[in-house]
Symmetry: C2
Subunit: 318 residues, 2 copies
Amino acid sequence: MRVLVTGAAGFIGSHMVDRLLSAGHSVVGFDNMSTGQQRFLESAIAHPQFTFREADLLDRKSLAGAMEGAELVVHLAANADVRFGTERPRKDLEQNTIATWNVLEAMREQDCTRIVFSSTGSVYGEPDIFPTPETCPFPVQTSLYGASKLAAEGLIQAYCEGFGLQAYIFRFVSIMGERYSHGHVVDFYQQLSEHPDHLHVLGNGHQRKSYLYVQDCIDAILTALEKADGKVNIFNLGTDEYCEVNDSIGWICEHLGLRPKLTYSGGERGWVGDSPFILLECSRIRALGWRPRLSIKQAVLATIKFVSADAAAVKAES
Amino acid sequence: MRVLVTGAAGFIGSHMVDRLLSAGHSVVGFDNMSTGQQRFLESAIAHPQFTFREADLLDRKSLAGAMEGAELVVHLAANADVRFGTERPRKDLEQNTIATWNVLEAMREQDCTRIVFSSTGSVYGEPDIFPTPETCPFPVQTSLYGASKLAAEGLIQAYCEGFGLQAYIFRFVSIMGERYSHGHVVDFYQQLSEHPDHLHVLGNGHQRKSYLYVQDCIDAILTALEKADGKVNIFNLGTDEYCEVNDSIGWICEHLGLRPKLTYSGGERGWVGDSPFILLECSRIRALGWRPRLSIKQAVLATIKFVSADAAAVKAES
C-alpha cells in the first residue's frame, strides 16, 4: 500500500520509513527539515519505492499533493521540543495542532481514511494513577506540548466520528535508540564532551521516567495496525518498568567510562511542565501480542552508543 | 475590578455583562458581531462603566488593546454552532481553539492573570458514566465542537502551569433563557410558526438532555470566582435532572397551544456528534453553595416565552 509519513526525516519517522519500505510498501516522506536530517533517509532515498517531499504541513497544497493515492498517513511530524514550550508557545499550536488539522483536511480531500498519530504520555499531565491506563481520570494539562497533542487527538477523534476516518493514536513514553537527536541523552553526552568531570542535571535526579526502544515502538504501531480495528484505537506505548534519571546517568557514565561530579538544579521537575513520574499501563497493546524486546537500560545504552558514535563520525567528517 | 468579556453581545455574554455592571465592575465588551446582537447590549451601552469593542479575536492587536488594565477575562466567545461542525471544520478551529490561544497570549502580554472559560459537556463525548463527573475516564471526542473546546481547555491549563494564570473552566450543559437565539427551541418555534400542524424532530425524540437557566449559569460562575481558589478550577454546570427532547416539545407545544403532528428523522442522535444522553454530576459546584433556581421545565418555558415574544416584537418592528 501507499503510505504518507510526516516527519519522515526525523528520529522515529526515518525508522518508520525504513520499516515500511522493507515490508514492501510504497512510501512518500514529508518533512520540513526543521529538525529532520537528510542522512537518516540515506537508505530510503536509494529505494525505488520512496519519494520525498520537503515542505511544511502548514503548506496545505503541498500536503494534499503528497497525499495523493495514499491509503494510510503515519503522522509523526511535530514540534517535539517539549522543554521549550513556554518560550515559544505558538510553535506547539502551529506545528502540532494546526498541522494535524491540515493533515485531517487533506485526508478528507484525498479520500485517505486511516491515520496513525504519535501522541504522548504527557497528555496525562501529572496523573494520580500508576501505571497510568488509557482510561485514567480526565487529566489536567501541565505542558503546552501535552496540550497541543491532546488537541490533535481530539481533532482526530472528531474526524473519525464526523468523516468516517479510522485512527490509531499512540501515547508514547520517551523513545530511545539509533538516530535519537535531542533530549536528555544528547544533553548529557554534549555536557560530558565539553567537561567530562562535571554533569549538571535538571531537577533532583529522582524523576521517574519510562523509555521505549524505537524499534519496539514501531513494532507496536505495526501490530496495532494489523490487529486492532476499532474506529478510534488508542494505545499507551511503553515498558512495564521505569528508572530514575540518576539510573540513566549511571548507565551513560559507565558506558563512557566517566565518573563526573553531579550537580542538580533541584526540585521534583526538570522544567515547567516536566512530569516527575511517567509509567504507562500498556496491557491494551500487550493484549495484541506485542511486547518490547529491549529493557529501559538496553534502550538507553543503544542510545548513548549511537550518540557517541554519531558525534565521532560527524567530527571526523568536519 | 475591570473585566473583559469576549462574546459580550451573545446570549450568555450579554447577561454576564449586565450582571458584572450591576455588581459595580467596569466592563469591556468584545464581540465580532458574527452572531452577537446589538440589542442585547442596550442597557449596558447606556452604562458609564461599559465600553464596547467590535473586533475579532483573530485580530490580536485589538484584543490586546481591549484587555489593557483588565484583571479578569470572561472568555465566552465561540463558534457555538455545534451542529454544523462537520460542514465548516475550520471555524471551530479558528474561533474556539486559535481564538483562545490569542486570548491567553494577550493575557500574558497584558499581565492579566485570571480567566473564566465556557467549555462544554460535549468534551465528554459519549461517556459511560451518568451523571458524568469532571474526573470521568479520559474521554474520546465525538464532535468538532467538543474537540475545539477540549483543545482550548488544555491550552488554558498549560498556561496556568507555565505562566501562572488562574483558570475557571465551566463545562456547560445547554443553556436556556432570555436572549437565547439558536438551538432546538428556536428551531421548533420557527417550524411551528411556518406550519403549526407539523414539527419535524432530529433523532428519535428520546435523546436525554440537560438544560440550565442562564441566570443560574452566571450565578454559578460568580460563586466559583468568589469561593474557589485553585490554579485550575473545573466545574460541571447543569441541573440534577434531564428530560427527553419529547418532553421539551410537549412543554413548548402546550405553551403555544398547539398539537402538531410529530415526525422524526430517527436514530439515537439528532446529528453527527450529537450525544444521546447528557447528565452532568454537579456536586463540585454545589459544594460551594450554588444550586439552580429554575428546573429544566422552567428554563425551557422561560426560553419559549422569550423566543415567541421576541419574534412578535421583531415582526411588529419590521
